[in-house]
Symmetry: C2
Amino acid sequence: MEISVSQENYLKAIYKLASREGVASNQAIASVLESTPASVTNMLRKLTEMGWIDYEAYRGATLTAAGNKRALELVRKHRLWEVFLVEKLQYDWDAVHPLAEELEHIGGEELVNRLDAFLGHPQYDPHGDPIPDSEGNIRKRQHVMAASELNVGQDFAVCGVRDSSSLFLQHLDRLGIELGKRYALTERLEFDRSMVWQAESGQTTTVSQEVASNVLIQRVK
Amino acid sequence: MEISVSQENYLKAIYKLASREGVASNQAIASVLESTPASVTNMLRKLTEMGWIDYEAYRGATLTAAGNKRALELVRKHRLWEVFLVEKLQYDWDAVHPLAEELEHIGGEELVNRLDAFLGHPQYDPHGDPIPDSEGNIRKRQHVMAASELNVGQDFAVCGVRDSSSLFLQHLDRLGIELGKRYALTERLEFDRSMVWQAESGQTTTVSQEVASNVLIQRVK
DNA sequence: GTCTGTTTTTAGTCGAGACTAAATATTTAG
DNA sequence: CTAAATATTTAGTCTCGACTAAAAACAGAC
């Protein structure tokens, strides 16, 4: 039985929610998919019959091995297409998500593997999220934390974002913050806990607590 | 009112049929879409309401200006994705059609124009079909004819195919026939009207009438 | 243990887009 | 000009995925 676009989106939603908070409620799945709990119940039943998930009424859903593989393949496709759109088609990093959302449902393993090779087997997507390999292995990065957890005096490099909404990414653009850029945390302001970051060029940027908690970094040296 | 994938496929079908044989019958549209005449009737009504086509019962359908623009955009997207798949992802020319069929429905003008630029504004797709520009202008090639119409002694270059089914394209691969390759027609065999083509390398290939009538060429020199 | 509030499921509908079978309209042959 | 053949439309269903409103199950407070 061939899986539909809509069903693939359920798998992705369950994958995301299950990795974060154990098992997902229908409510939660519905809100991710901008749907209703009633619709979710029906689809979870169908996905169970099809062998993609295990699901018991009132117990929540978990992906089967097949479902997990499929979800990872979708994540892989999504992130590789994002790399393509940014690197090859020169899209801004805040504009690629909706297109990747469509592209990820096209073709099968053959296409995604060719795309991967064409792009030179990239490790991370334009938002710093790791790209699963063809076996579904996802490299977990060590020592990644939110910028908000830093202490004054520490050096760090920006390596990802927690919020990849267009609004947030555009805000980072305005602040001149981009992946790979290095800073030193020179000051933490008492008043609102905002931070002063000094780039290698010497330029400083003031970053609110709200922004810092959505920027992922790695300490350097 | 946003157009659906299915509706876009109707526009493409009408575009193809109308350019070939004036106005299309429901029967014809149904067979292109592997559907039934009854289904076609309903959809044609809807497309008329939406302003994509003009349609009168028993009179057939024609694209409106908007419909024509949309159909050309689809053809453009399809052919550009085929170029991408062959040139960048190294797909064989006989394998790209089904993928392009899916990709062509993704994104809008922005995406297709960026893809076009990335590919270097190619003029023809991997099967030799011309790619409409962003205004929907389609370069009509002069002096293109079927190889079957040649006379003995003429020199020519292969520039396209009439049948782009996987089966036919694989057959051409086996015969060593590819786009851009030059030949001289050295002989026409009495028995079954098959042709002998001599490549620049001196190698000769015997080509059946059936094959020759599906290969498009331009005379050279 | 029972009551109250939340969450989930049932039941019944809806729209899109397809299908079959039957009824009409159109064209063609005689 | 009429009869037969062909093409199109109507009428009625089906499946997929969604929805709302109402019923049922569960969890936490007392």
